[in-house]
Amino acid sequence: MAKSKSQAITAMQTWWLLAAALSALLPLTPHVPLWLSALALTLLAGRALLNWTNRRLPARGWLILLTFAGSAGVLAQFKTLFGQNPGVALLVLFLALKPLEARTRRDGLAVIFLCYFLVLAQFFFAQSMATAGLMLATIVAVTAALGSLADARARPADLLRRSSLMLLQAVPFMLLLFVLFPRVQGPLWGLPRDAFSALTGLSDSMAPGSISNLSQSDAIAFRAKFGAKVGDTPPRDQLYWRGPVLSEFDGRTWTSERRLPLPRLAYAPQGPAIDYEVTLEAHAKPWLFALELPGQLPPDSLMTGDYQLLAKTPVTARLRYTVASHTAMTAGLDESAGVLRRALALPGDFNPRTSELANGWREKLKTDEAVLDAATRFFLTQGLRYSLTPPLLGQHSVDEFLFDSREGFCEHFAGAFVFALRAAGLPARVVTGYQGGEINPFDGYFTVRQYDAHAWAEVWLKDRGWTRIDPTALSVPSRISQNLAAAVPAGSNVPLMARLDLTLLRELRLRFDAVANTWNQWVIGYNPERQREFLNRLGMRTPDWRQMTATLAVLAGLVLLGLTAWALRQRRRTDAAQRVWLKLGRRLGRRGLPRASWEGPLAYAARIAARFPESATEIRAISALYGRLRYGSLDPVLLDELKTRVTRFQP
């Protein structure tokens, strides 16, 4: 059957569809291949041009060709058509193509639903507050386009107002579902590894320059929440957040050795434990950060032989864990000979001047402590400077740093120090991690950023075990007592948040961080645990998912019931008489005489009478009866009569 004219979409509706498609496609452009974004935007622009000039849509053959060519492009790009990224790319392609064949309302609806689906797809890539806000705006636009499909003459402002209103009306449902829908641990779909390739963070190797790169970023590494009292936050010089431990050196790069889990926590705490909660940003690596040294492990984590805290899987989503640390602790008194041997290993033929100096210490001095003192004194007196842009170093990087350039970043200090100690026969290793952090006065969270990345040294002494020595602190104390900006020469290129001036900007940024953190903690981080905690507070004792589902069903049912009752009250007047009349219209519609929605009872009856003259009297009587029941007063006896006559009416 030919499509009836009333179903064809108008130019105005086409504009709306294009606007909806554009609003759904634009936010996805950074996440699909560039050629696809360009193709999609070109197709939409082409459709807009056709609409503008009121020309015919392209022939079906062209569209089929474009579809296959685009799909082949996606296949070539991703080597598969399955999976999240190729899937989204295909949807983007289809959404750009569909308007080119959208002639009827039904096609328009397909465009709308694709738009809604792509709104969902956007959250595969980002779940920030800004994304959520942008998607809400997109939903308003798409819903307005849906409204325009239903009401071709409505004005744009009315459509937008109506769709915003609908979104507002949906808020209670949204909140209800958000709070009560049973949560599962982790994301519902696996996130691709490459989603995090652009993330910054510490790696498990250190070469000159690798940490100073991080110093240019004020991205947040993690947040920590200590107890509410001021004294609960440890002093700054104890805020060493331990990360990868590097004990192998090839002359230029420090790398970590094969990690073996520690069977038990082999150290003796001194002093009370500090309890805190860490919210770690995704960094695609398994390590977790904790103050040196954690006395109690978070769930699903383990500790390696060099006291590094590891999660069982790489941290690909924001992770929250609680830890208890002892900042004073004796560890590794009974360290195995193998570990100590490896902590002394040095590649030959590197840094002869440093080796000579260290050998001199060893020959002159008797005890390990005295050698350590000599090394410390050397770093204190050598006049080493802290710099974000140290000069490039050659083959003997430690020698050049210590004796020639004397300018370096923490990885130079730590690397050189450990090298010197090893050369003097003291087992030592490099520890990387973060040092310091800053409290956000607006939400009390302790914020550690990438520029807080740091490297320090750990030396093993017979009666003290592994002991932390921070060579950077020896030469440049302000790096530890204040922060990065205080330590580097004036005029260095320091990230905004590390700077000590520009208070207003920093305050704005801190406020924004506090809001974003609330979002992360309560919206993104609303996991089963949080849900349980929240529902407990609402008085649901230990709710399990069955109970939650039941509550959800009951509440949703009640809301729906309420809405239905309200709608029924509104519609009570659409009484039985009208139902009978509409039924007659449908029945005659099948015989080619459908009732137009605007047609009054008399006009429709006249049309039927003209078509079936022998039933003219009957249909006139029926329509008069209906008019009386619907527009006069509803008389039950007459209603029964109407029903009987309509049922019997078979022209």
């Binding site: 009208q578 929605s597 009054g600 009872p601 527009y631 006069g632």
Partner: protein, 311 residues
């Protein structure tokens, strides 16, 4: 259902008027509905299609007094409302009521007069009283103005402003008679003779009673929904410069009631609304585009009706 005996005289009016104005039963009924709804009627058409005859016949058949005012460009308000003249015998001013003091006023070619004179009539229409020299004098009841207007494209006209058009409940066009009716007209007796022979079939009091019973015609929620939907459509659709006013909505309802009453029903159907809609709405709506301006009132109304589903 209304008892047919009440409407019988009015059916007679329709039929008898039909003997004078041939082939225009729809317009006659609309004019009568307008009268029953206590509204005033504007007839817009070319000279010579029977506007005056229609007004005259209606007045005569309903037993109402009738005055005709031929509007000219040198006419003054006093020529319509009346004037106070010094009476030497009584030594005081005496008010001589103007032609407006009557049941049916035929304001012929109302758009030939100056706006000042037009508004004198229109104020009397609205308030159903005349205030002259500080004294307010009520007009007789029923009071019904039939104004005729030449299409404003003709020379020498002062078209009625929108606010004054709104005072007329309905505007109808008579149009040329069809071929058969025109032949009867040419072949038959002189219309003036028939007119003179028409006998009143109603007293003014009866007409007032009918007007009252029209106001009692039942209007259901569903019908009010429909009228609201129609009004909303005129306000929302881009076809018109401005939508219909609440006064227009009231006019639509009153006219629909009168039409339903004339049809012998005690309730208003959407069909009644649709029938009176061209007459009530079209002179109040101003098209916003070229394409709509070219449509006839009937086409405009059909466009409006077809855009609004009956709830």
């Amino acid at each position: 259902m209304l008892s047919p005996s009440i409407r019988k005289p009015l059916e007679h009016v329709v039929r008898a008027t039909g003997t004078v104005i041939l082939g225009k039963e729809g317009q006659i009924r609309l004019a009568l509905a307008c009268l029953l709804a206590r509204g005033h009627l504007l007839i817009e058409d070319l000279p010579g299609v029977g506007k005056t005859t229609l007004a005259h016949a209606l007045a005569q058949l309903l037993g109402l007094s009738f005055q005709r005012i031929q509007f000219t460009s040198d006419m003054l308000p006093a020529d319509i409302l009346g004037v106070s003249v010094f009476d030497r015998d009584s030594g005081a001013f005496r008010f001589h009521p103007g032609p407006v003091f009557t049941h049916v006023v035929l304001a012929d070619e109302v758009n030939r007069a100056t706006p000042k004179t037009q508004s004198a009539l229109l104020e009397a229409m609205e308030e159903r009283q005349v205030t002259a020299e500080g004294l307010t004098r009520p007009l007789p009841e029923p009071f019904f103005v039939i104004a005729t207007q030449n299409p404003s494209t003709q020379i020498g006209t002062y078209p009625l402003p929108e606010s004054q058009l709104d005072r007329f409940l309905m505007r109808i066009e008579l149009g040329y008679p069809d071929r058969a009716a025109e032949r009867d007209l040419l072949a038959g007796v002189d219309r003036r003779e028939i007119l003179a022979g028409l006998q009143p079939c109603l007293a003014p009091e009866e007409l007032l009673a009918h007007q009252k019973s029209v106001r009692a015609v039942q209007v259901s929620e569903a019908l009010i929904d429909y009228i609201q939907a129609l009004i909303a459509q005129t306000r929302e659709a881009p076809d018109w410069q401005a939508g219909l006013s609440p006064r227009a909505a009231l006019a639509l309802l009153a006219a629909s009631r009168a039409w339903a009453w004339l049809e012998g029903r005690d309730h208003v159907l959407p069909d009644d609304v649709q029938t009176v809609l061209p007459g009530v709405a079209c002179h109040r709506l101003h098209p916003a585009g070229e394409s709509i301006a070219r449509l006839s009132p009937a086409e405009v109304a059909a466009r409006l009706i077809e855009a609004v589903p009956i709830p």
